[in-house]
């Protein structure tokens, strides 16, 4: 581990027993050495989740594998090392979400560079069109680019995209 470097990952966990442990396993299992864990209990993110900051040490080539393993375990990675998702944006998609393959939609976003899906809420009532709220994380200054991607996807799949009205005064 002579070339190991320190990295910081910022995670967002739901307030359930075992969640922290679930989040630490992918790090240990992929060659990461835990240095410190700052569990900000009582300090909730806007989504009502608990922010956790983990410092770890690993060989440089292992770091991306650790972040990927965390995401695969369903953990929201807000910030990983130098790759910082500085801005968050929520959009609602309406229409044939399930018929047009929801997981394909998520994959579509994950394949966008500079963009990450933080979470998804789906509402599919029997007697109305389904809607999904996606919370996206974009790199600094990347929100308008992210929204352009959302419009592109909505066009492709015949969905209605309800974009946020950017209100920097409030969100700053």
């Amino acid at each position: 581990m002579s070339d190991a470097r320190a990295h910081t990952v910022r995670l967002e966990l739901s307030d359930e027993p075992g969640e922290l442990l679930n989040a630490l396993h992918p790090i240990a299992d992929n060659g990461g050495n835990l240095l410190s864990i700052y569990h900000e209990r009582g300090n909730l993110t806007p989504r009502g989740r608990i922010p956790v900051e983990v410092d770890l040490e690993c060989a440089p080539e292992r770091f991306s594998g650790i972040v990927e393993a965390l995401r695969e375990a369903g953990i929201n990675v807000i910030q990983a090392g130098e790759e910082r998702y500085a801005e968050e944006v929520s959009v609602i998609l309406v229409g044939p979400l399930i018929e047009t393959d929801l997981s394909d939609t998520l994959r579509w976003f994950e394949e966008c560079a500079n963009l990450s899906v933080l979470d998804l809420s789906l509402s599919a009532p029997e007697d109305d069109r389904p809607s999904a709220r996606l919370r996206l994380a974009a790199e600094a200054g990347g929100v308008s680019d992210a929204l352009a991607r959302v419009r592109e996807l909505a066009d492709e799949k015949g969905l209605l995209a309800i974009e946020p009205q950017l209100d920097r005064e409030v969100e700053a």
Binding site: I92, S123, P125, D127, S131, I162, E163, Q165, V170
Partner: protein, 314 residues
């Protein structure tokens, strides 16, 4: 000033009734079938009573109003798209007679802005159209006062019907069809609500603001990117609510273009006006953001904007 009022709907009638209070007289009134003309000034009550009783304002032909003696023509006929007639011809007819024109009719300003300005240049008369955007809200005069170069964007909630429907859907958890029917019962929505719920009305207002903001480019409805609210289900409002947000039909005008569509806004934010209230928000170059909110429709409200314009005429 002596006013000729063309169009005897809610706005035209309110202008006739309120003109005296603002120190003006009404010398001619026309609806689509008739006209009443009196160079000494018409009695507002008589004209309005005649319209209500007979469905017409007088015994002359409608064209007589345009030929009458007046300083400013008030164009308050219904908004039409495309060639914006007969409103456009009314405006040009008055300008050719070197009279001023104040429009409450969105059609000519949104669809034939360039021609309108050309007709104004050839005339000793002036056109004003504050009432076409946001009823009583001083939207266009704010742009005028700041100077178009000092405003980078104008956006807002500009249609009361769409806003009423979205507000009720979110508050009561009701679906679109249910709330629309309720709005129609209350008289908030028309029997044919498409002009409002498809976003056309909001788009026309934004096209007008884009025209006022731009000096070298003319916009029409065809240039606007428009999405209505018919496709917004209750489930979308529910999801928005879980996140502290709600949905509003927002129109935005810049020198680059016009976009109208349902947008997510903070539930308690400035843009989340409720019911039939409107808001216009300006991004200014040196003074940050400016919000102007108020009643965006209604006879007396819109007549107030018309009469403010009359007061600004040189």
């Amino acid at each position: 000033m002596r006013l000729a009022v063309v169009g005897a709907g809610a706005v035209g009638r309110s202008v006739i009734e309120l003109a005296g209070e603002y120190g003006h007289s009404v010398t001619a009134v026309a609806d689509s079938r008739s006209a009443a003309v009196d160079p000494e000034g018409l009695d507002p009550e008589t004209v309005v009573a005649e319209k209500e009783r007979e469905g017409r304002v007088g015994s002359s032909a409608p064209e007589a109003a345009l030929d009458a003696e007046y300083d400013a023509l008030i164009e308050a006929t219904p908004t039409t798209l495309g060639d914006a007639e007969p409103g456009f011809s009314h405006v040009v007819g008055a300008l050719e007679r070197d009279r001023h024109v104040v429009l409450a009719n969105k059609g000519p300003v949104a669809e034939r802005y360039g021609e309108l300005r050309a007709a104004e240049r050839a005339s000793a008369g002036e056109i004003r159209f504050e009432a076409t955007v946001g009823g009583a809200i001083p939207a266009l005069s704010t742009i005028e006062d700041f100077g178009p170069d000092h405003i980078t964007a104008a956006r807002g909630v500009l249609n009361g019907t769409a806003n009423f429907i979205l507000t009720r859907m979110a508050a009561e958890g009701l679906d679109y069809e249910h709330v629309l029917a309720e709005a129609q019962d209350l008289g908030v929505a028309e029997a044919d609500p498409s002009f409002d719920v498809e976003g056309t009305d909001a788009a026309l207002k934004c096209v007008i603001m884009a025209n006022v903001l731009s000096e070298d480019r003319e916009f029409t409805l065809a240039d606007a990117e428009v999405e209505g609210i018919e496709g917004v289900p209750g489930s979308a409002l529910e999801l928005a609510g879980e996140d502290g947000r709600t949905v509003r039909l927002i129109g935005e005008a810049t020198r680059e273009g016009v976009r109208v569509g349902p947008r997510l806004v903070p539930e308690n934010g400035t843009l989340a006006v409720s019911g039939t209230r409107n808001i216009v928000q300006f991004e200014t170059t040196h003074a940050g953001r400016l919000n102007v909110s108020g009643r965006g429709a209604g006879g007396p409200e819109t007549a107030t904007a018309v009469l403010s314009d009359v007061g600004r005429l040189g």
